[in-house]
């Protein structure tokens, strides 16, 4: 399908530094992050608020530019892309999911899902059909004509997930997708993301401080104070859990 699908790494960051200047003071939100993400992985970026995980999320998604260092998507340096190429990348290759859902308020669920397809040049009929199909996958086929304000938080996030899959992206970026949801709904959303990840082979990178995410992640990247503290594989966690006979091992 894509020229880059042969590469093992879908995302690589090299020495990513992000500085913000606020009131004359320079704040280093990221202090040199090197992270390689394999195709098809489910990665959780864990860390307290203010740790820099959302900043890293923005760098990987091309929503903001690093002050230093590079982000590569499919081995292409994002800094080399012009505005149109970056828009293309966001439209076709990356799907975004946000804590606050960020649906377009005046559009129905179906229109929200089809918007990225309009930008991608998919004809109306085809995009409506695919939109309905995606809404069915997330369990909202019957509510396609509802506006975001007529949907619950969990339902809005489902629409956002359907929208993020509109153009069959290779990478889904989710920034605190369960942050505004209650525990049960959060679990459903996480399971939905995991299912999509397995069924469609899409890579998922999720910034979170929801420990439920640990269960489904292939790797957990702990971020603290703008740096990667450590990276854990799920297998290792399972072993440690087994040894400890409990869940206490999670609360690092």
């Amino acid at each position: 399908m894509s020229a880059g699908s042969g590469h093992e790494w879908i995302v690589r960051t090299k020495g990513v530094v992000k500085e913000y200047t606020m009131g004359g003071q320079t704040l280093r939100a990221l202090k040199g992050v090197d992270l390689d993400v394999r195709r098809g992985e489910y990665i959780s970026l864990m860390g307290p608020s203010g740790s820099g995980k959302s900043t890293l999320f923005n760098m990987i998604g091309g929503l903001d530019k690093p002050s230093e260092g590079n982000v590569f998507i499919d081995e292409v340096d994002m800094a080399q892309l012009d505005a149109a190429e970056l828009a293309y990348l966001r439209c076709r290759r990356i799907g975004y999911i946000f804590q606050t859902f960020n649906l377009i308020p005046v559009m129905t669920a179906l229109e929200n899902v089809t918007l990225p397809m309009i930008f991608a040049g998919v004809p109306s009929d085809a995009s409506a059909e695919k939109g309905m199909q995606l809404l069915k996958v997330v369990g909202l086929g019957h509510r396609y004509h509802h506006k975001p304000t007529e949907l619950s938080g969990g339902q809005q996030q489902r629409v956002a997930i359907a929208r993020s899959f509109a153009n069959d992206p290779a990478l889904i970026l989710a920034d605190e997708p369960t942050g505004n949801l209650d525990g049960k709904t959060g679990t459903e959303i996480i399971e939905l993301l995991r299912t999509m990840n397995k069924d469609r082979g899409v890579t998922v990178i999720s910034a979170t401080h929801d420990l439920k995410m640990v269960d489904v992640s292939d790797r957990i990247v702990y971020i603290s104070d703008g740096q990667i503290e450590r990276i854990e594989n799920r297998e290792d966690i399972k072993i440690s859990l087994g040894e400890m006979h409990g869940s206490g091992g999670l609360a690092h």
Binding site: M1, S2, A3, G4, N58, G61, G62, L63, D64, K65, I73, D74, V76, Q80, L81, A83, A84, E85, A87, Y88, L89, R90, C91, R92, R93, Y96, F98, N102, L103, I104, P105, V106, M107, L115, P116, I118, F119, A120, G121, K147, R163, N167
Partner: protein
Amino acid sequence: MESAQTPNQPGRLIGGAGQRQVQLPLAKAFSIAMQNIRVRFWRSMITAAGVMLGIAFLGATFGQSIIEENTPVKNAQGLSAQQAQIQKEEAKTRQNWLVSMSLIVCTVGIANSMFMSVTERFKEIGTMKCLGALDSFIVTLFLLEAGFLGVIASFIGFAVGFLGGVLMKIFQLGPEALEYLPPLRAIQSLGISVAAGVILTVLATVMPAMKAAKLPAAAALRSEI
């Protein structure tokens, strides 16, 4: 889809064959813009009311000043022709001053309502960019929306204001006031008012929309109103 006409450039971008461009067909942009107005009907009406009031004020000033300008100076007080002429000149200066003032008032009114209506949609702009919108898509959408609102609101505003102004003169001078209203001047003032209304509305919308579209998507998304 169009790969026959547009040969691929040597692959700079992931994604491979076919179209490398995102797009927003004009018909689609138009329907989205109209939907924005329709769904936010009352919000749009309040925004439009800001424009309408400004243009109504301008229209009223035009209506009155045209009639005043063309009303023959009554010679009851035994003024000389020269004095009458001076009085007329003074009236004209006063009217020009009034028109300029009302233009300023309507500029401020329109700018205020349009700026607010764009600012409260920064997050939407950020979201659109995440979905692959180019800056130009966002500007196009806001341009269409503002253009449509501007035209409608300016016509209504002018009609209301101009009629109001003329009616006041009719009360003052009697029905013959209408004789002092050359149709050509009325049409001219309609043109000026609508043009001013549309240009101001579009400028006051597109300028902040452009600013928002140029922001990094992350910054636009962060904005809380």
